[in-house]
Symmetry: none
């Protein structure tokens, strides 16, 4: 298999293999997360609230990131003029 088609096929197989392996890993971790939620539930915690807490923390983080991005943009904008430049 040294023809281009064979090579491409080999490359394709390699890419597919790598992606499928990574997806399996990802799935494993997703299952782990499910397990932790189950464990929390078994310890008497309300899973719904737990999820809410985690998503709130995630949103806080993304909001902080956005603030930072805004700050950067404003810094850039200073001197460049944010609003319309009149003449």
């Amino acid at each position: 298999m040294s023809d281009p088609v064979g090579v491409a096929a080999d490359q394709l197989k390699a890419f597919v293999g790598r992606i499928e392996a990574l997806e399996e890993e990802k799935q494993t971790i997703a299952n782990d997360i499910k397990d932790v939620y189950a464990e929390a539930k078994a310890n008497g915690f309300d899973v719904k609230i737990l999820r809410l807490v985690i998503s709130a923390r995630r949103q806080d983080k993304s909001e902080r990131d956005e603030m930072e991005a805004m700050f950067d943009l404003y810094c850039q904008a200073l001197g460049m003029g944010f609003g319309p430049v009149k003449g």
Copy 2:
């Protein structure tokens, strides 16, 4: 066309028609939004910042909503016990 199949076909056509009409409206509005951004840009505003402002406002709103949801959940949880109930 008074057989069930015909009736179903007519119903189907009706549903498809309604959905397609709504999607066209939606697309029209999406285009309008694009136009407004273009107009703002033509007036010297930085579209990137404008988008950031709008998304920040949207996030604020959703955060407030989430806070409210949390509050409701906590209210529910009171008396039910949020954390593990020991004995």
Copy 3:
């Protein structure tokens, strides 16, 4: 507020307001679409299939539009007017 900055701020508010209004409209329509799907489902239709049908029709339409655009282009290239060529 007759200074340039105030004017820009007012303009900015106006743009933000218009965009947010349009986005709300858009969201309303999106909800309407969801409702129609729900209604279809309540009438025994398979929503997944329904979605497929509609997206297929959309594709067909865009293909037809493309064809039409091509046709017009060819007509122009041949020095033909838009309407049918009489002789």
Copy 4:
């Protein structure tokens, strides 16, 4: 902090920490997958098709798994042990 509430709070923090750590791992892997797709694209592969191929393989796999499960079920129903029945 040896009161029940403190204990619950500590437990809660632990659960949140574990989940967040796992989610970060998951995100890392998701990014890796994106990278592989990008690499494939850089090597001339059509990402859209590649995704289709992978999802098709996944479906096949789940079908095969289902079949296997069925097979096992039948074996059980027939009072067969898991391995080959010797006599």
